[in-house]
Every structure is written in C-alpha cells, then in structure tokens.
Amino acid sequence: MTSPVLTRTPTQTVQAFLDAFARHDIDAAVALADPQVTVTVHPLGVREHGAGELRKILADLVRGFPDLMITVSRVITTGDVVTALFKAEGTQAAGYAGAINQEKHLDIDQAWRFVTRGGLITEVTAYWCQAQLYRRLAVKRYDEIAIA
C-alpha cells in the first residue's frame, strides 16, 4: 500500500501546510516538512536547516500576532516548486522581530517559495518587506527597533 505522504502532489502538500498555518496548527504544518528542511527567511536574515527552525518562525508569528489571519491569493505550481502568495494580518500582542508590542495592526503581502519531494517540504524561502512590517508596527529606525 502506498503511503499517503508519497501520493500527495506538491500543490496538495503546500496547500495542507498553508491550511494548517492559517488555523495556527503549528504541529500539523511542521509535520509536512522534511526533518532537514532548508529554511530561508530573507527579511529576518534566517538561513538554517531543520524542522525546529521552521517551527520557530511560525510560532513566533502566531505568538506575536495571536489573531493572525492568512489569506492566500495564489498558489503557483511549477514542477516540484510551489509558490504561495498571501496576506498576513493580525494585531500585535507580543514583541516580534525586535519590535516591542504597541498593539498595532499588521498587514503584509508575502511570497513563500516551497520545494517539495516525496510529499514533504524540503525547502522554504520566505519573502516579505521588513520595512513595511516595521512601518506598520510604528518602528522609526532600523538601529532603534525596540524604541517606540
């Protein structure tokens, strides 16, 4: 009998990840990643390996913005690569990326590029603009991120 993991298409794998992330089910999202997944988050300067790093990225977002809402506008499949375009919205309730909590509302358009193999995510590369994020969180200077 073929494993359901192996029969998942790249699109299905990433859609399941996005669905889990949208409902803040970090365990379910991370379960869709290879244990040695490559995680690159350009705006945070993250270039690491391992599902634990992916868990940290997702958990930090949900902790910082407990009402985080993920609205996916497009999922583009190009072979084993799946690119998801979505808007992340939420109200800050804890420090995030060095910015103190001022209960500001965040809305950031993002693009996440996934590489899949055998029904698992083997690479995640996230693109968003940290200037837009800091602007919405009322950060004025990059050298004084924690000062309101």
Binding site: H42, G79, V81, A111, C129, Q132, R135
Partner: protein, 158 residues
C-alpha cells in the same frame, strides 16, 4: 515595439522569455525589457509604498506607466545595476517564478535614500505570467526593502 513570437508557449519557452528579460535588464536595455511585455502588462512591486499625509503611493499599475519609470530610475541611480538569476521554474500555463539577486552601487538619490556610494545586493522573488503570444502580461516582485535601505546606509524606516 512589442515582439510577438510564433513559437508555442511551453514551460520552457515561457522560462526562456524571462531569462531574456533579465539578460536585457542586466544590459540596462529598458526598452528591450518592455518589448518582451504585452502593451497592457500588469505590474506590481509589492514593497514599493510611499506614505503621504493623505494617500499611499504603491508600486502597482502597468509595466509601461509604473514599471518602465521604476527600472529607468534604478539604472540611473545605480549605474552598475546588475542581476544574478538563481533559479527559474515554470509551467505550461505560462507561470514563471524566478529567484534573482539584484545589486548595484548608489550614485544618485533613490527615493529617500541619499547617495553615499554604497553597494547593495538583495534577493528578490519575481512572479511572471507569459501569455500564449510569449509576451509577459504580468510581473510581480517581492523583496525586503529594509535590507536595501540598511545596506545603503539609510537607517530611518521612512
């Protein structure tokens, strides 16, 4: 003038159009880049936003009216502007996704950033759609503009 190809659109031919687009960008051939796009091609540089007192200007519109002036301004402010294509993936529907590093050394003001002769290199993700006529009819790009500002020595968010 827009170039129309007689080749069929496949994942490979769509990717070839985008490869040519970045070749022309590297050569600062802005007219040539525009020639690879349909006359009404959509354009969205997502990080571009300028907050005024009463409105926000965004990098959204058409290639001919927003994209071309932006590209022209970039090569003017960064005379050695260049790009390195890290990956291109595509499908038979004409979707093309490109990871591209853009870099350059600032010689003139760019937005609010005064020229200090500094160099930047920043990863970008470009999302293209290539029509059945092998012309680009949509361009969107995502990158971290804070990374560029900081590399150029501009430490204020706005």
């Amino acid at each position: 003038m827009t170039e129309v190809s007689q080749r069929p659109r496949t994942a490979e031919s769509a990717a070839a159009v985008v490869t040519e687009f970045f070749d022309r960008y590297r050569a600062h051939d802005i007219d040539g880049m525009t020639d690879l796009c349909s006359i009404n091609a959509d354009f969205s540089y997502v990080p571009v936003e300028i907050w005024g007192k009463q409105r926000v200007l965004r990098g959204d519109g058409k290639v001919c009216t927003v994209g071309k002036p932006l590209w022209t301004g970039l090569v003017t402010s960064f005379p050695n502007l260049s790009n390195t294509v890290q990956s291109i993936t595509s499908n038979d529907d004409g979707d093309v996704v490109a990871q591209v590093d853009i870099e350059g050394t600032q010689q003139l003001a760019w937005g609010l950033i005064a020229p200090a002769g500094r160099h930047y290199r920043e990863p970008h993700l470009f999302i293209f759609h290539v029509g059945a006529d092998l012309l680009i009819d949509s361009i969107a790009a995502y990158w971290n503009d804070a990374g560029i500002s900081q590399q150029l020595g501009h430490i204020e968010v706005d």
